[in-house]
Symmetry: C2
Subunit: 324 residues, 2 copies
């Protein structure tokens, strides 16, 4: 089996070799620009990994893997407009560097280019793989819509939050693994199992991210502690705390959420204090582990040699942190 | 052969029966809304017409025809954001009625739904038809980009204008006919000929539209005469007049283009006066006829019974106006 890092590098190189039409320049330059921003290329690498695990030809799977990366960057380009984000990975976003219309239209073309790349598979797999791609793409759009809806709602339930992050971030991981496995020759049953593995691992990973924002040591993770708290982001921790809180805690929490101006450190300390008082960390960890367990259950059912399963276990373990 | 009007009606009914996911509502409601605005359903009806002409099953071609209509409305939804248009067909545009983010994201989903509908064809045609759809879709985006580029440029040449309207409006007519003919059982050679017919007819039709804006009688066409002149729209007439004008005429024309405030009727009369002086109407008609001739040449080469060709000739004639 090839190392995941090597697959990421393979994608990174393939991205630089992508060729689009040169004209009209303003339509295609933003595509090269956003693709050159880098990133971990995790989604396309997972597609290649799944193909490899099922004994497929990794090189032949590069175009559909690039399709996943181009699609992912299309969603970033449009999300950045919707979020009015000035920066992505420290660089000016497309709608800021060009203009909003360029970002809308270049994004549209990226989605079409994604389909063109995804179609570079054998005839016998074409319909099956495009169906997975369609479902993945629709899921991501639905997830983004829910994320925006939730920003202006004050009654979001935990189940709705899980449903949203499943669509917005987990489905595309599952979809990439599913497509890769099918390209590698997997039966549909195994393709669905590896998608289940990826989706649940993605959920566990997102919940871990929510926990690390508050409880991760800044030295280890290089992130500002409490960023989500400062921006009132509706994470698992906040939503569950609102459910668990008594009247007094709830009032205090809402006071901080609605505060117009505040000292960042003071807010982070106060909200973390409530999180601790209601014991939300334990709930979050339990839920995270429940999804990680589901991922491992799906993994065990895969019709793969023990060695390949071990590889997948190692990959899953590497994503889940033992110590904060 | 079925009457075009009946095919338009068939599509109109099929559009009302389209079902999308009910949740999240804000993602799918704008899709139902824009599709309910009506319109002539010309593009999907042409797809069905081509299928019928080559002896195909019109009912089976309805999903790909709907794909073309859904795709077309996706472009309208995004174009309206880019053009900051408050109204479409007398109704509030999606980005005004909901908000811009809803219009971006609903449009994105429409493009994906378009692919899902377009995939409802036999396996043996799937790749071929999706390739045509990809080319059409990319062409329309490129055309829209050029249209926006041209708005802020003052040196647009006639060839560039023709290239732009070919991509923005003619390619999708050609694409619809091509897909329909393939579904009807046409050989690729004939599919390409009918696409050539549609593309050139589309160009002729667009040029006719440019002419009618200035020289059409308002009683016959129900349009305000000179709307393009008032809004400085870079039509064939304006661009060619700028090429043909002597220094004096050019100065006068640019004075009207750059005038901040003016009396509409006065501007229309003055600019029309220059159009007449440089004889641009004749040039426009010559070019229009040249494209119409190309369309008829392609038509004659089609491997179709005389009766079916006669039907196509009748359709083309009905689009081209004899008297203004």
């Amino acid at each position: 089996m090839r190392e995941l890092q090597k697959l990421q590098l393979l994608i990174d190189n393939a991205v630089t070799e992508l060729q689009f039409s040169p004209y009209p320049a303003e339509l295609y330059e933003p595509i090269y620009y956003i693709l050159s921003m880098g990133g971990k290329r995790m989604r396309p690498a997972l597609l290649l990994m799944a193909c490899d695990l099922f004994g497929g030809d990794v090189e032949k799977a590069v175009p559909p893997a690039l399709a996943i990366e181009v699609f992912h960057n299309f969603t970033l380009m449009h999300d950045d407009i919707m979020d009015k984000a000035p920066l992505r990975r420290g660089k000016t976003t497309v709608h800021e560097r060009w203009n909003q219309n360029a970002a809308i239209l270049s994004g549209d073309v990226m989605l079409i280019e994604g389909y063109k790349l995804m179609m570079q598979v054998e005839d016998r797999l074409l319909r099956t793989i495009l169906n997975v791609f369609n479902d993945t793409a629709v899921g991501v759009c639905e997830g983004q819509q829910l994320d925006m809806d939730f920003e202006i709602r004050n009654d979001v339930k935990i189940d709705e939050y899980i449903y949203m992050i499943r669509l917005k971030t987990a489905v595309v991981l599952g979809g990439a693994l599913k497509i890769g496995s099918l390209l590698g020759g997997a039966e549909m049953k195994d393709a669905e199992l590896i998608a289940e593995f990826g989706e649940n691992l993605g959920l566990a990973f997102q919940l871990q991210d929510d926990i690390l924002d508050v409880y991760g040591s800044p030295e280890k993770f290089g992130k500002q502690v409490g960023g989500d708290i400062i921006s009132n982001k509706k994470t698992y921790l906040l939503l569950k705390s609102l459910e668990l809180a008594n009247v007094e805690q709830s009032t205090e929490l809402n006071k901080w959420i609605n505060a117009g101006s505040f000292d960042n450190q003071q807010k982070v300390e106060a909200v973390t204090g409530i999180y601790n008082a209601v014991g939300v960390k334990q709930h979050a960890e339990d839920t995270m582990h429940a999804y990680a367990d589901k991922a491992f259950e799906a993994l065990e059912k895969l019709n793969l040699p023990e060695e390949n399963k071990q590889y997948l276990r190692g990959f899953a373990d590497s994503l889940m942190v033992r110590e904060y």
